[in-house]
Amino acid sequence: MTRFTPPHEAVEPFRLLDTAGELLGETQMSAAEILESFEWMLLTRTFDEKATSLQRQGRFGTFSSVRGQEASVVGAASALDPARDWIAPQYRELPAILRHGMPLENFALYFMGHPGGCVIPDHVRILPIQISLAAQLPQAVGVAWGLQRQRTDGVVATFVGDGASSEGDFHESLNLAGVAKAPVVFFLQNNGWAISTPRAKQTAARTFADRAAGYGIHGAYVDGNDLLAVNAVMTEAVERARAGDGPTLIESLTWRAGAHNTADDPTKYVTAADHEAWAGTDPVERVEAYLRSTGSLDDDGYEAIRHRCADEVDRALGVAQSTPAATSGALFDHVYAEPFARFDAQREAWRQMQEV
């Protein structure tokens, strides 16, 4: 009977660059913007490689690399204005928070377990990395709503994984955002996995973007390994939010090219077929091919970028690794704006313990 809405038929994600780096439509990104984005992508790829190898030597903590998702993250971030927009990250969006002003050494410190890693410079408009999955989403809606109430034209972009999108917070947040018409963009990175759990076990929905209708908001489904497509879709969503026309849910279809994190062993669950399906879709290579084919990048230019990236990673890791270890006093810093007697007594007891 027609009164039932049947589950949908298959649909293709929006795409502007094919896997060979050929432009399929029109992009609004200038060559300079694409080059800048490419550099962010390469910077974090460099960082991921370096940090992974340090981690294997026991000189860095467990962390989740962005490898394979660079176009998705940078494409989204490139539509934001750090001077007025906010980011509420999950934890796999390093280039976005760097571009927004987070020093790379702070990110490194965070994953080295150093409390200095929690420091967010003043005027950097980001929320802390979120470990409790999807918990950033209600907060993102709140910030967006507050910006709107205060008549600023800031927009909040929040990142969420395919796995995290199963949490109740996802639903509650999109629903409130719809009602409040909050200037927020929900950028869902469907990278195929939540640790070992494949996307097919996460939801029976055709696409995550199909959820938008259930909240009366706009939805989009985009090839997340296509920088230009992601930028285009995100730009439109940010503009709509800024104009007061409400939130958008964007599903960015991408692929986690490595392990969940440095403690994970994906050979336990990722199949050869999985690998094959995504072979040749590397987002960094795709932009590189495009930049080279359009003459914006040559070998020299490429090498210059690589060097800048390597230098920046070395610098940041150097700063992080030479940061003095934190003392137990840091346990007590920033817990309360107004501490109190029992708390102060504990701080003092811990200070004395450290002297023993």
Partner: protein, 327 residues
């Protein structure tokens, strides 16, 4: 000074604060047009507009989480949880996000946010509406928890909670909303967070209580006085910060301590108090610290709630028995 009920005091304080500070917003279920199921926010939407007094979708997690976001953006949200029992749905946001944001952001983000929630029994609510779940929240570092017992303190503590940049869970006694009436100064004042108050002087035994149980303690103290037992009554007012000195002084003054609360015994906030008291007052104690609480069972249906929540007869009986314990 006018005599007010607790709910009037809360409502008027909210109104005063909203008038004084444009950053204060009230959000929650049914807080707008209806003015809250207990009318604690009645008239606020008409006066301050539907964008400052907001009827939220029915989802405690996002009510709290969005409140946290509002606070980050520069507002000072007052978030209502319709009944503390439904704070469970927001427990991850309250215990891990609200309480820890300042810490997790190394001070970059303050959390000037008040979460108001009625709690406790005695008014024949449906299931899950009457539990006294304060102990959960007192075990969440980064959060402060206050529980006024009078209309006066309701105003003073609400103002203090609005002033601080720390998040405060502000507990309101279902039972005291309309029953409790006392004098409330018209001018703005604060009651310091973290300070207990002696509400009755006595020499034989110290009863420590908060929220609606304070009134119960006072009534029991009257009855005990007639029996020749002089009870000292301490109104805790704040659970976190715990006024350790105030509690220790009050107990040491008599050498006997009774803690009174509505929550079940095991793991209730009375446990923390008893543990603290025996630590601080070890040499002064003439008898074990005694807890008068609900049993370790769920809050029952209304028909037997009177048997569940401690009542005056029980307090008098158990305090009297404690007086007979050999030191």
């Amino acid at each position: 000074m006018a005599v007010k009920t607790m709910v009037e005091s809360i409502r008027e304080t909210l109104a005063d604060e909203m008038a004084r500070d444009g950053r204060v917003m009230v959000i929650g279920e049914d807080v707008g047009q209806l003015g809250g199921v207990f009318r604690a926010t009645e008239g606020l939407q008409a006066r301050f507009g539907a964008d400052r007094v907001v009827d939220m979708p029915l989802a405690e997690g996002v009510i709290v989480g969005a409140g946290l976001g509002l606070a980050m953006s520069g507002m000072r949200p007052v978030v209502e949880i319709q009944f503390l029992g439904f704070g469970h749905q927001a427990f991850h946001q309250i215990g891990q996000q609200v309480a820890r944001l300042r810490y997790r952001s190394a001070g970059r983000h303050s959390v000037p946010m008040v979460i108001r929630a009625p709690f406790g029994g005695g008014v024949r609510t449906p299931e899950l509406h009457s539990d006294a779940f304060e102990a959960f929240y007192a075990h969440c570092p980064g959060l402060k928890v206050v529980a006024p017992s009078t209309a006066h303190d309701a105003k003073g503590l609400l103002n203090a909670a609005l002033d601080t940049d720390d998040p405060v869970l502000y507990l309101e006694p279902l039972k005291g909303y309309r029953l409790q009436r006392d004098e409330v100064p018209e001018d703005r004042f604060t009651v310091p967070i973290g300070k207990a108050q002696v509400v009755r002087e006595g020499t034989d035994v110290t009863i420590v209580a908060w929220s609606a149980a304070v009134q119960l303690a006072l009534k029991a103290a009257d009855e005990l006085a007639a029996d020749g037992i002089s009870a000292h009554v301490l109104d805790l007012r704040s659970l976190v910060p715990l006024d350790v000195t105030g509690v220790a002084d009050a107990v040491s003054a008599t050498g006997r301590a009774v803690i009174l609360h509505e929550a079940p015994l095991t793991g209730g906030f009375g446990a923390e108090l008893a543990a603290t008291i025996q630590q601080e007052c070890f040499y002064d104690l003439l008898a074990p610290v005694h807890r008068i609480t609900a049993p370790d069972t769920p809050y029952p249906l209304a028909g037997i709630e009177e048997a569940y929540v401690p009542d005056q007869a029980r307090v008098v009986r158990e305090v009297t028995a404690l007086m007979e314990v050999a030191p």
